[in-house]
């Protein structure tokens, strides 16, 4: 008996595992792996490198990439890979802050505009038009100038510059749901506004807003890197990826100082964009 029963859970387990992974294209799986590694870098940088991100070995300046120093060493003999790993928090963690701000503020604006309509919609609509009228990167630069230069402010600035995009999408989604028949019938059956909001509007909107949030995460990483590159993030010895590239460009004979962090940025953003695309397709 026991022999006959034993394989069953095992089969079930393998079936569940297959169930999770079938339908997910291999490139999406790879993207998840890359994003997971970067997130782990941001959380536990010490686990991924034995080198310090701040202290260098002056005897080992400008060493080309090798088994010892994967991304080579910089002008102060610091391990570039260690600097990239320790910079992940400031480069990717802050992008989460930026998207959080855009998602919350933009989502709220879009929700109010779409749900309340009337003059609220008109006023908020003009606000969104105005935010859209200033090119995103310029808006981020202006906000970070007003707040002062450091990485967190750069993230806030990036978040502010994405508020309008979230607001527009949320408003469109809310309008789409609000005029549908099932919402009408929900009102007729005595559903309150709050009930309709949480039971129908938000659950229907969240999928496409989530896909946009993931996509924005990718572009937030690029915008924050660009702000850091121009020197609007935290000053050295911070090792934001954009700052690493800005430092690397001064040394034409050591191109690995640019290529290392650049490849990490590109792979991270590419993976995030791939995941977003997949989310949009499956929704």
């Amino acid at each position: 008996m026991s022999i006959a029963i034993a394989p069953q859970p095992a089969r079930r387990l393998s079936a569940t595992v297959r169930g999770v992974f079938t339908g997910v294209p291999p490139t999406v799986l790879l993207s998840f792996v890359i994003v997971a590694i970067v997130v782990l870098w941001a959380l536990f940088p010490g686990l991924f490198t034995s080198y310090s991100a701040v202290l260098g070995n002056p005897a080992a300046k400008f060493e080309a990439p090798s088994a010892l120093h994967w991304f080579g060493t910089d002008d102060l003999g610091r391990d570039e890979f260690a600097r990239v790993v320790y910079g992940a928090g400031a480069s990717v963690g802050t992008a989460l802050v930026a998207v959080g701000i855009g998602l919350f503020a933009g989502g709220l604006i879009g929700l109010l505009a779409g749900f309340l309509g009337g003059w609220v919609d008109a006023v908020l609509g003009r606000l969104v038009d105005t935010l859209l009228a200033i090119p995103g990167f310029l808006l981020a630069v202006v906000v970070v100038t007003g707040l002062g230069f450091n990485t967190l402010n750069a993230a806030i600035a990036t978040g502010v510059s994405s508020v309008a995009i979230f607001a527009r999408l949320m408003r469109a989604e809310v309008l789409k749901v609000r005029h549908s028949v099932f919402v009408e019938s929900s009102y007729l059956q005595g559903g309150s506004r709050g009930f309709v909001l949480f039971r129908h509007v938000l659950p229907n909107a969240y999928r496409s807003v989530l896909a946009l949030a993931v996509l924005q995460l990718g572009s937030a990483i690029i915008v924050i890197a660009a702000l850091a590159f121009l020197g609007y993030g935290s000053p050295p010895p911070a090792s934001d990826w954009g700052l690493l590239i800005a430092n690397g460009q001064n040394f034409a004979t050591a191109p690995w100082l640019v290529y290392g962090p650049a490849i990490v940025i590109v792979l991270t953003v590419l993976s995030i964009n791939r995941i977003s695309r997949w989310l949009r397709k499956t929704s």
């Binding site: 609509g125 003009r126 606000l127 038009d129 105005t130 935010l131 859209l132 009228a133 200033i134 090119p135 995103g136 990167f137 310029l138 808006l139 630069v141 202006v142 906000v143 100038t145 007003g146 707040l147 002062g148 995009i165 527009r168 999408l169 469109a172 309008l175 789409k176 946009l212 996509l215 924005q216 990718g218 572009s219 690029i222 890197a225 660009a226 590159f229 121009l230 020197g231 609007y232 954009g242 590239i245 460009q249 034409a252 191109p255 640019v258 650049a262 940025i265 590109v266 953003v269 590419l270 964009n273 791939r274 695309r277 949009r280």
Partner: protein
């Protein structure tokens, strides 16, 4: 900003919610859009004023208080009274706005030039860069879109199809540095010390064009996919049209309209990208003036550039909105005079 292109490919103008308004005259719509554009430009100026002036660290006061500013006490007083620094913020805003409406952009706090002459001097360089970049981006996008449809070999087509998403994942300063490293340091095609030379301009424009062509190519590809499934294409092909003729005669035009609707998006990317590209290549232009203004907390210059960007953005958007109903009568004019899709 990249997402807008993706969204546009999803909800095309024809799908925009709203009512038919065949009866409403075109010029009423045009007038409404014009009025909105003016309001948005003024609001953008107010917003940039609020962001720069009200946020912690009042730039004008800091710059004037700096003993190294090179201003005599009398000059400081002069500037202070011009900007109304000592007055309440709302009065400062009113002063700034009334000057802006009269076309006075103020005086740089650092170089003491008028802002309009500063911008006027830098504008030609940026226009040259942005114009070249736009041209390169259009060509690149067209090549990618055409190749993604007709290139022999499924593999080559799918590589081209994924090109836009790769381009969107590379920061444009990385592209710039890459181009400088390969084509200036290695191949000596241009001198980094003379970035305003024609070849230097071309490579700077290429760095700016690559991220910009991506949303354009995405929209074009999505539309070509849609249009080539239409029956008129089958009919044309059965009449014996070649691929190239079919593409040029029947597919380009219907795919153009969505490209027009993201024109404003592209202009925004061009302006934002120019700041970085000019810095990377060491070119003169609006971007480098802005970079200087940010480093020196030169508020009037910064604000004027933001206002200029908003004006360009809104005007391009307005033109796109006014032209597209003429290009395609299927585009619906919504009740409020706003097109839901193309306000990007």
């Amino acid at each position: 900003m990249t997402d807008i292109a993706v969204l546009v490919t999803d909800q095309l103008p024809g799908d925009a919610p709203g009512s038919w308004s065949r009866g409403r005259p075109y010029f009423v719509y045009a007038l409404q859009r014009l009025g909105q554009a003016v309001v948005v430009i003024l609001l953008a100026y107010v917003l940039s004023f609020v962001l720069i002036t009200v946020l912690p660290g009042n730039a004008i006061a800091t710059t004037l208080g700096n003993p190294q500013s090179g201003l005599s006490p009398a000059q400081v007083k002069n500037v202070e009274s011009y900007y109304g620094v000592t007055k309440p913020v709302i009065v400062q805003l009113w002063l700034a706005l009334s000057r802006f409406v009269r076309g006075q952009l103020g005086v740089s706090l650092v170089t003491h030039q008028t802002v309009s002459s500063l911008i006027g001097g830098a504008l030609p360089y940026t226009l040259k860069l942005a114009g070249t970049a736009l041209l390169v981006a259009l060509i690149l996008a067209a090549v990618i879109a055409y190749g993604s449809q007709y290139l022999p070999g499924k593999w080559a087509r799918s590589v081209l199809r994924s090109a836009p998403s790769l381009f969107l994942s590379v920061p444009n300063f990385v592209i710039g540095l890459l181009l400088i490293h390969e084509f200036s340091f290695q191949l000596h095609l241009f001198d980094v010390l003379d970035p305003n030379s024609p070849v230097g301009t071309f490579f700077a424009a290429l760095a700016l064009a690559i991220p910009i062509c991506a949303p354009l190519a995405e929209v074009l590809i999505a539309n070509l996919d849609r249009e080539s499934g239409q029956e008129y294409v089958l009919v044309a092909r059965s009449r014996g049209l070649t691929q190239a003729k079919l593409f040029a005669r029947h597919l380009v035009k219907p795919s153009m309209l969505p490209a027009v609707t993201i024109a404003a998006l592209i202009v925004g990317e061009l302006i934002g990208g120019a700041v970085i590209t000019e810095e990377v290549f060491g070119r003169n232009g609006i971007g480098s003036v802005m970079y200087q203004a940010v480093s020196n907390q030169d508020t009037p210059v910064l604000q004027a550039i933001v206002a200029l960007a908003a004006v360009v953005f809104v005007v391009v958007n307005l033109i796109a909105d006014l032209v597209s109903p003429l290009l395609d009568p299927r585009v619906r004019l919504t009740a409020g005079g706003r097109r839901e899709v193309a306000t990007a």
